[in-house]
């Protein structure tokens, strides 16, 4: 289990796994290297919204594109909690509770699942931390699905985003069934308010999995240099 930095990224230490608590924003490339070099391992990546969408945003796009067989769990609480409450890419534009952005960010929130779909993620789901069993089932399914699986978990930060307590009543199951139709999924995602849960999209793109099969010796490589 590979994580970045943030409240959510402490999770490998709480799990009975081989883990790597890496750098802020860099969990996905660490995990990509591990899985490509060791395709026999099951690799789960965990992080938060700041880690994954802001400092690690470029890696997020390319991990979706590359489609290495990883399961990416983003515990999204719409805030930087570990640094005591600053706006993250998923924070609403008018949230003015941070000393860093006293007038709100004035910036539209990032739409992680729509971006994941556009960038080519092969499995897209949203879960809710208030439903641990349902979340566990989705993560297990994501891990079984080949390719890059994106699981957004709405995870309340009761300290810096106390209004998220309302998610107990506002989060609900999505009113659609899982689709493999990108256009349908895109339409649905863009119309949704971000509080519907479920497995929203399952794709079947080819997985990035290079063969690790030797066909020559090092001495063979040298022959190209011989005069």
């Amino acid at each position: 289990m590979i994580s970045g930095i943030g409240c959510s990224s402490r999770i490998p230490a709480y799990s009975s796994v081989y883990g790597f608590h890496s750098l802020h924003g860099r969990a996905l490339p660490v995990a990509t290297g591990l899985k490509v070099a060791r395709p026999d391992l099951t690799v789960i990546v965990a992080g938060g919204d700041g880690d994954g969408y802001s400092i690690g945003g470029n890696h997020f796009l390319h991990a979706c594109r590359r489609n290495v067989d990883l399961t990416y769990i983003v515990m999204d609480n719409q805030v930087y909690g570990m640094t005591k409450g600053q706006a993250s890419p998923t924070t609403p534009a008018d949230w003015d509770k941070s000393k860093l952005t006293p007038h709100g960010t004035g910036v539209s929130p990032f739409h992680p699942l729509a971006v994941a779909l556009a960038a080519g993620a092969n499995f897209i789901a949203r879960c809710y931390a208030g439903d641990p069993n349902g979340t566990a089932r989705v993560i297990a399914e994501a891990a079984r699905h080949p390719g890059f699986s994106m699981v957004q978990v709405l995870s309340q930060c009761v300290t810096y985003q106390p209004s998220q307590k309302e998610w107990k009543t506002t989060v609900r199951k999505a009113d659609v069934t899982t689709t493999s139709d990108v256009e349908l999924a895109a339409r649905w995602l863009m119309a949704d308010d971000g509080l519907s849960t479920g497995i929203l999209y399952i794709g079947h793109r080819p997985v990035y999995r290079p063969e690790l099969q030797a066909s020559a010796s090092i001495d063979d490589l040298e022959t190209a240099f011989v005069v």
Binding site: I2, R10, P12, A13, S16, V17, Y18, G19, F20, H21, S22, L23, G25, R26, L28, P29, V30, A31, T32, G33, L34, K35, V36, A37, R38, D40, L41, N58, H59, L61, H62, P210, E211, L212, Q213, A214, S215, A216, S217, I218, D220, L221, E222, F225, V226, V227
Partner: protein
């Protein structure tokens, strides 16, 4: 010393095929049993624009360019002034140019070199499918006295896949070139006889570095292209695959360095290659590799900096960032290759050090090594027997960051039973659990420093040649020219000592003190404007009083 050699500069507009012609000349010299070196120079746009190829050929191994040129072949005069500082001509030099190309630039005329104008373009136009660079290859063949047959073989090998017509035109161009210079007096350009000895290689520094990495056991590489390091990665992509490894193209250098940290965490020796700007981006992650004790190798093929700088030219100005760029107290290893052949040795040794000590190693080479090509004796096979300490499965009470006497602790490989641990850049206790306790920080800092301090780097840390009290102290690609300067001084009765460092960090105080013992005059040779090497030496070593830079 390289003995009797012939130095040749070929210039022309980008796309004229200067590099192809120079490469073919080097190949032909190699098959004729000669040694040689070919370096390239181009404008910052990398593709297109003006280019120059520099060759030095001889009967003995060639380790650097000469300080003057015997022959310059100017296919045209386009922007040739831009290379004037690099192409040193004198009254003994011969310059061949096109009689239709206009007046030679004033700096060429001022050098006093003998100018010979020939109808180059006119001849090319008279040949069906004629190419200026093939005519140029013919000129060089004629002037150097290489056998037309040898050159023809090289041309055939290169052009045969492009069809008989192209090949015939190429060979006709070579023939026409030889005929054009038949009457030119060029005794100084005549190559010596070649010899057939042991196996020789035709290899670039970047290829040699890639081969060294594979020989060292690297089987995972993450890559982001950057001049002048890209050829390492381009060589590795197909060749790594053949030996069961894999290369991934990353989205940026932040990704490439972290991918190799991931691959290495998985137990697979891992490497990336970059140049200064990329190395700057990798610095935070190198700190992670230090703290988490994850072995990785980063080859930095240095170029002119800072910022985009001069991507196509060589400099030794990343020494500071390689040594001191990491945040925190971050002991790591910095090595440097001294020649094209040494790119292989140093890369292979560096993989060995990284794996043995579970530490990041930065390997410094530069554009003048990486993008140059040489005919060398096949390097000796190297075997470093040690490998990563992984412990054994099922050990009770496994502690990833245990405080051992050597400082090296077993690094379990994911998948091994009862070895689960969390690698961490957060300071940690011996178990890997995060800890900000003062005693854990002190113990882990000591551990990470100790493993580098106690390791025996053997004789590979430097070359020390001669025992004189006059010493030339250098590193990296300056070693070739410094060694030749010492040999020339020796030929004039001036004894010298040469010290060239391969291991820059950790500093080897005792070995250095022994190497410099008895020196009273010291000349330090480096290629950085801010005297980075000199300041490094001052920081770590006692130097004699009488020092010149």
């Amino acid at each position: 010393m390289a003995g009797d050699t012939v130095s040749i500069a070929i210039t022309g507009a980008g796309g004229a095929g200067v590099m192809t012609a120079a490469q073919m000349l080097l190949d032909a010299a190699a098959t004729a049993g000669l040694y040689g070196l070919m370096a390239r120079s181009s404008g910052p746009q990398i593709r297109g624009g003006e280019v120059a190829a520099f060759l030095r050929l001889g009967a003995q191994p060639v380790n650097c360019l000469d300080d003057r040129f015997d022959l310059m072949v100017a296919l045209d005069w386009l922007n040739v002034e831009r290379f004037a500082g690099e192409i040193v001509l004198d009254a003994d030099s011969l310059v061949l140019c096109d009689e239709g190309a206009g007046e030679p630039p004033p700096r060429i005329v001022a050098s006093g070199a003998r100018l010979v104008s020939l109808p180059l373009q006119e001849t090319v136009k008279s040949l069906p499918g004629g190419r200026l660079n093939m005519l140029g290859l013919g000129l060089l063949t004629g002037l150097t006295g290489l056998a037309e047959e040898e050159v023809g073989k090289v041309v055939a090998k290169a052009l045969k896949k492009r069809g008989q017509e192209v090949l015939d035109a190429g060979l006709a161009g070579v023939g026409a070139g030889i005929a054009l210079v038949a009457a030119v007096d060029a005794a100084a350009c005549r190559l010596p006889e070649g010899s057939r000895g042991d196996a020789r290689w035709n290899i670039s520094g970047n290829e040699a570095a890639g081969l060294g990495a594979v020989r060292g056991g690297v089987r995972f590489v993450a890559a982001y292209p950057i001049t002048p390091a890209t050829e390492i990665l381009e060589w590795l992509a197909p060749n790594l695959e053949k030996v069961g490894g894999v290369l991934v193209q990353a989205e940026d250098e932040l990704a490439s360095i972290n991918m190799i940290i991931g691959g290495s965490f998985g137990g697979i020796p891992s490497l990336t290659a970059t140049s200064g700007p990329g190395l700057a981006l990798m610095m935070e992650s190198l700190g992670l590799a230090v703290a988490s004790e994850t072995p990785i190798v980063v080859i930095d093929v240095m170029r002119g900096g800072p910022s985009t700088g001069i991507p196509t030219k060589s400099e030794q100005s990343d020494l500071n960032i390689a040594l001191y760029g990491l945040h925190g107290d971050a002991p790591h290893i910095v090595t440097a290759a001294r020649s094209i052949a040494d790119c292989q040795f140093t890369a292979q040794w560096s993989v060995h050090l990284a794996e043995q000590l579970q530490v990041p190693v930065i390997v410094l080479t530069d554009q003048s090594l990486g993008q140059s090509r040489a005919i060398i004796d096949r390097p000796a096979d190297l075997t470093f027997i040690s490998r990563r300490e992984t412990g054994s499965a099922g050990v009770a009470d496994y502690r990833r960051y245990a405080l051992t006497a050597s400082g090296v602790s077993a690094m379990a490989v994911p998948g091994m039973a009862i070895g689960e641990y969390v690698a961490d850049g957060l300071e940690h206790a011996i178990s890997g659990r995060p800890s900000s306790a003062a005693e854990d920080h002190a113990a882990q800092l000591d551990k990470r420093a100790r493993k580098l301090e106690l390791f025996d780097y053997g004789q590979h840390w430097a070359d020390v040649e001669g025992e004189a009290s006059l010493c030339v102290l250098t590193w990296g690609s300056c070693t070739g020219p410094a060694r030749e300067a010492c040999a020339r001084a020796q030929a004039r009765g001036i004894a010298t000592r040469l010290i060239s460092l391969r291991l820059l960090a950790p500093a080897q105080e005792e070995r250095f003190a022994a190497a410099i013992d008895g020196v009273d005059r010291l000349l330090i040779v480096e290629q950085s404007h801010s005297k980075q090497f000199y300041r490094y030496l001052r920081a770590h070593y006692d130097l004699p009083r009488n020092v010149r830079l």
